[in-house]
């Protein structure tokens, strides 16, 4: 991926993750309503705690993406997180948006994987 397009996607997704984390902190009980009942029953901890944990995870992913540190790790965790979100929230009117964010996150993950970085270094030499 070209450097500029990669960075635009990285910063854009970082802002999305950070903002969602903040919105979850604002109203955690409202976000808990997005979970399917079967998923809530599977939780080993109270729903409110799980949702706040999700907010912290979202903010951590956002910070790593924004500051360009450990991007591939953040992208892997972010992609897995989005897959879990798609599974536990079921098909709704906003599912298509999550698919778009997941696609962007996968693109970042593939481009930032250490294997790719290694290839780039060889190319430079």
């Amino acid at each position: 991926m070209k450097k500029a397009s990669f960075n635009i996607l990285r910063v854009g997704l970082a802002i999305t993750f950070l903002w969602i984390g903040i919105l979850i902190f604002k109203a955690p009980e409202a976000w808990g309503g997005y979970l399917e009942p079967w998923a809530v029953n599977l939780l080993p901890i109270p729903l409110a705690q799980a949702i706040l944990g999700t907010a912290i995870l979202d903010i951590a992913i956002g910070i790593l993406l924004l500051t360009d540190f450990f991007v591939w790790g953040a992208a892997i965790v972010g992609s897995l997180h989005l897959v879990v979100v798609l599974v536990v929230s079921g098909i709704t009117e906003v599912t298509v948006r999550d698919i778009g964010i997941l696609a962007g996150m996968l693109a970042i993950m593939i481009d930032a994987l250490p294997g790719n970085l290694f290839t780039r270094r060889i190319d430079k030499i």
Binding site: N7, V11, I22, L66, T67, D68
Partner: protein, 160 residues
């Protein structure tokens, strides 16, 4: 009739508070987005400076002239670090305002004061580039523009 008379203001009041909520959320979202962009810019500049690498200059070739000039510090602290701190505070304040962390008045005053001072300092740095250094730095101008836009948003939100 009485019921209608009393019911109507209630509905209007609900609508009005919803409009205010939407307006505030839009302002906070814009402030947060712009400050996040500022954080990514300044982190990029700090990393390039520490790695002793030349930053990519998207417009012109004078970025390094400005970034390595004698004006790149205020009280022994690099401007990029001050910029990063400023953007981090703005984003945190925007987040606190969204989550409604009290005391709200303190966050509102602090963001106004901080953005006011930062905008004036940015104006001074732009003048330095134009008249004293006689070179333009893309990243410095982008950071200044980001701060000015944040300032305009805060001003407009107070007026509208």
């Amino acid at each position: 009739m009485c019921t209608l008379r009393f019911a109507a203001p209630k509905i209007l009041s609900k609508q009005h508070s919803f409009i205010i909520f939407l307006k505030n959320m839009t302002v906070f979202a814009l402030l947060f987005t712009l400050s996040a962009i500022g954080i990514s810019e300044t982190v990029y500049l700090i990393r390039k400076r520490i790695a002793l690498e030349k930053p990519i200059c998207l417009i012109g070739e004078d970025c390094l002239t400005v970034l390595t000039s004698k004006y790149n510090k205020i009280f022994f602290v690099h401007n990029d670090i001050l910029g990063l701190l400023c953007y981090i505070i703005i984003s945190l304040v925007a987040a606190f305002l969204v989550i409604e962390v009290r005391p709200m008045w303190l966050w509102i005053i602090s963001i106004k004061v901080l953005v006011g001072i930062a905008s004036i300092v940015s104006l001074f740095f732009t003048y330095l580039q134009w008249k004293i250094i006689k070179a333009w730095c893309f990243w410095c101008l982008m950071s200044a523009t980001t701060l000015w836009v944040i300032g305009v948003i805060i001003l407009l939100s107070a007026i509208i």
